[in-house]
Amino acid sequence: MKIAYPYPSYWPYVRRGAERCIHDFSGYLAGQGHDVEIITSTPGRPRVAYDGDVKVTYLRQISHPLMYQYIPRFRIAAYGMDASRHLVRERPDVAHLLSFSYVNLAPLLRTMLDMPFAFHVIMRNHYWGTRYQRLAYANLIRSADIVFALTRGGADAITAEHGVPCEVLSPPVDTRHFRPVVKRDTTNPVVLFPADLADPRKGGPLLFKAWNRVHAECPEAVLALAGPVGMAGYSQDRGERLFSQLQLVKDPKARDQIDFRGPGDRDGLPRWYAEASVTVLPSVEEAFGMVLVESLACGTPVVASSFDGPGEIVTDPRIGATVALRDWSDLDNTKLVDDLAVALLTAIDLSRQPETVDACRAHAEQWSLERIGAHAEDMLSSIVGARRSRQKRSA
């Protein structure tokens, strides 16, 4: 089976979220003997690289100061056109698109070239800027051979909104890579925040406010900031948001207990997770929460929202605590600041219990790469099989 993953950004430029998901899926499928190609873009020179058995085609990314000023969406539209042209040339058996793959011509390719595609909805709410984008998104969902959501709740929401059946295909976690690689030091608990501070959805300011109280209750605790600062090229933020957020930690001693680590790399992340007492993701509108599953796979309890994707992950009090973060307004809610602090202290206590590591690890197994990867392979094989049946019938 020849499978294509078009997505405008990929490693090494962005390594979290959708990009990590594509990496794990493509690696698994290539390991199963499929011919997998990731079609992405690069700010550098166009090239073809190989990540193991996975072919990575880097198309030229269009970047220009005037373009970002006057037609900022042109870059992504140009990528969509370029990727579509590449798909026509390569003719994969199936294309696995994600919400922001921007291959809006996929329904046309499906009709004209009989190229089936799966569409993976990776956000709870898509804030499209134009009417065209809204229509194109809806058209992709309606035309796809199969639609995936990251969680059951997400799938139900898609069906309710668009009236199409929707399967659940969660992001996998490689439990052989993410595992408890070191023994945790519970005397100096580390609270790990692995999300992007420049992304307002991730709740950085809420965490900093809560940190004042956590530090007062547990002065030896360290807050490790292990996320990227600033997102991909479309973001104009250069870290200013991070430094302004730090002002929310009023106590200088509490600020001294903040360790700015940066995003780290894939090889080092299991150690960071395993060393931490708790991984926190106080975000809203989170479709899933991959870092939570990675943390659990490393035996570390988590603190996250009780709604949306995280709410569907943190379902057992033995593996962490939740805070009722429903929407954007909750990120400014003073009461929830206290709730987050309490949840963090609870999770720190939880991390000191010897059975927590096994409980977390066992909970994460339901998203193991083997299980989720096999499910993805089945789903994609089914639509390729349906296409072949169609072709036989017409022949």
Partner: protein, 562 residues
């Protein structure tokens, strides 16, 4: 596209950074490539210290298999794969301060091995401490034969000029960002030009080997949204900088430690070993000079003597054979006073590579009428490093090839080493406290005509070798001496008088010359007239010989000295 540019592009493609960071680094690519080329051009660059750093530059050096140590300035982002190379993290000022103290930055054992190359991008102009202090702190961390490569904002950059013209502070030319994906982003505390950097480097014991103005960044970063007017302004500014080197923002300089010169407060109680080279062809006179050395206040066990004929090759051979750290030259006509060596060695001061001492005419010496620069009653402060009295740091002298043997024994051969040292960036100095007395012999026969002619002929050649002699050694830049100037003007007056048929021109033109020789002409009593006529005849003859020599030399060297 150069090979260096291609290497940097390859590195950028490999780096695990977001595309925003990629664009930031690609924006800085011209300077990254320039610094990479500067490092790889060094004869030894296996072990490199990078302060800042810029991850693309660091990655390019690591990729080559170099041992790269990074001192990370707070706020400068770094990729995960380079973290093992980071040995220190801190504010810019404390990072370099720790170098002086030798304190480790973290729990790891402190690696005291010196570096082959230290790269300081935008450090000297941004740190609180003066550049000379920072460089001094790094001097001991630089391996023998190593170098320091600095990049800093130049005071003459287009941006600085425009800000100055519009009444704004030139130091505000760069925003003080707290976070950087590229170079350390601290705002400059000072702007230096090439001379200021050279002076700072000298006082820290470095010579500036290479310095060039470079365009440090592309016109715009691809990912930064810009309105058309701003974009156009950046393009025009970039084009201007490309076209006019004097407007370029950044100075990149390679500094190398002075060979064999000292660090610290000069010679303390441990005076260096000195080799005295006695230059001359007469063994008896040379031994007499050696005899005068026995009265020196300098410890005798730290002095040895070499002999050399008066030419460049022989002098170089003596230097190579010398055992001393310092080589002092004198000649067989000189008599060094008791404190000569001690004064000379102490006067060399910190990092000085060569010193010219004063030469005073000995009592009873002939008083040369037409005193060439090296034959004045009191020689010094004229850019000449005479064999009669000069001091050199032996290693520095050898590192520049010693005296220029192509000059052989021509006039000024003894100053050629100093010219080379200055050209290589070594500080040289003059000090009259280390003086010698020299006997200028009376000419015994007419052989002086040939000698004076040849010496005069060689002066324009020497000026061609070292143009600074015009300023330091010549009279009014074009005349060998005030008396040759007077004679030349007199001749010109005669010529004009002949052409215009007006004797008054000759009279007026002769005034300066007459003033130079009036002391040799006694008009009263009449018994002295005969002597005066003989003196005038001799003066005219000497002026004629000199003019012939200088004219011949000027034609030969294509440099006018009269």
């Amino acid at each position: 596209m150069s090979a260096t540019d291609t290497i940097v592009l390859d590195v950028l493609d490999e780096l695990a950074v977001t595309d925003t960071v990629f664009h930031d680094l690609a924006h800085a690519r011209p300077l990254i490539a320039r610094l990479y080329a500067a490092v790889t051009a060094r004869p030894q660059s296996d072990r490199v210290l990078l302060v800042g750093p810029n991850v693309a530059l660091a990655q390019a050096l690591v990729r080559d298999g170099r041992e790269v140590e990074i001192w990370q300035v707070l706020g400068v982002a770094i990729t995960e794969n380079l973290r093992p190379n980071v040995t220190r993290v801190g504010e810019l000022d404390t990072l370099i301060g720790a170098a002086a103290d030798g304190e480790p930055g973290d729990g790891r054992p402190f690696d005291v091995r010196p570096f082959d190359v230290i790269v300081l991008p935008f450090v000297l102009d941004a740190a609180t401490a003066e550049p000379a202090v920072l460089l001094s702190a790094l001097r001991d961390r630089t391996a023998p034969g190593g170098s320091v490569i600095v990049a800093l904002r130049h005071a003459g950059a287009l941006d600085a000029r425009l800000r100055a013209l519009s009444g704004r502070s030139v130091l505000s030319a760069r925003a003080d960002l707290r976070h950087s994906w590229s170079w350390p982003s601290a705002a400059p505390r000072r702007l230096l030009d090439t001379d200021a950097l050279r002076a700072a480097a000298r006082s820290a014991g470095f010579r500036m080997e290479v310095a060039e103005r470079v365009v440090d960044a592309n016109a715009t970063a691809g990912v930064d949204a810009l309105p058309f007017s701003r974009w156009l302004r950046d393009q025009v500014s970039y084009a201007a900088k490309r076209a006019v080197p004097a407007l370029r923002d950044t100075l990149v300089a390679t500094l190398t430690p002075f060979s064999g010169t000292r660090v610290g407060d000069g010679y303390g109680p441990d005076l260096p070993h000195v080799t005295v080279v006695v230059v001359g062809n007469d063994p008896d006179r040379a031994l007499r000079t050696v005899g005068s050395l026995e009265e020196q206040t300098y410890p005798g066990e730290r002095v040895d003597v070499q002999f050399a004929a008066p030419n460049a090759a022989a002098a170089n051979a003596a230097v190579r054979a010398a055992r001393g750290d310092v080589v002092a030259f004198t000649d067989d006509e000189s008599r060094p006073p008791a404190g000569w060596l001690e004064s000379g060695v102490r006067a060399m001061g910190e990092h000085t590579a060569a010193l010219a001492g004063g030469v005073l005419a000995e009592q009873g010496s002939a008083v040369p009428f037409l005193a060439l620069p090296d034959r004045r009653l009191r020689v010094g402060d004229n850019g000449l490093f005479l064999a009669a009295n000069s001091f050199y740091v032996r290693d520095a002298l050898l590192s520049v090839g010693g005296f220029d043997e192509r000059v052989d024994a021509a006039w000024g051969w003894d100053s050629t080493a100093a010219v080379r040292l200055r050209a290589a960036g070594y500080p040289t100095t003059e000090d009259e406290s280390a003086f010698v007395f020299r006997m200028y012999p009376f000419p015994a026969d007419r052989s002086w005509i040939r000698e004076e002619f040849e010496r005069a002929r060689d002066i324009p050649v020497a000026v061609r070798r070292d143009p600074s002699l015009r300023r330091t050694a010549l009279h009014r830049r074009y005349f060998a001496a005030a008396r040759t100037r007077g004679f030349d003007i007199a001749l010109a007056g005669v010529a004009v008088a002949v052409v215009r048929r007006k004797p008054a021109y000759a009279v007026v033109g002769a005034v300066p010359w007459v003033r130079t020789m009036i002391e040799y002409v006694d008009l009263w009593p009449p018994a002295e007239w005969r002597t005066s006529v003989r003196n005038v005849r001799g003066i005219v003859l000497r002026n004629g010989v000199w003019l012939a020599g200088l004219t011949t030399g000027s034609i030969r060297a294509r440099r006018v000295v009269l």
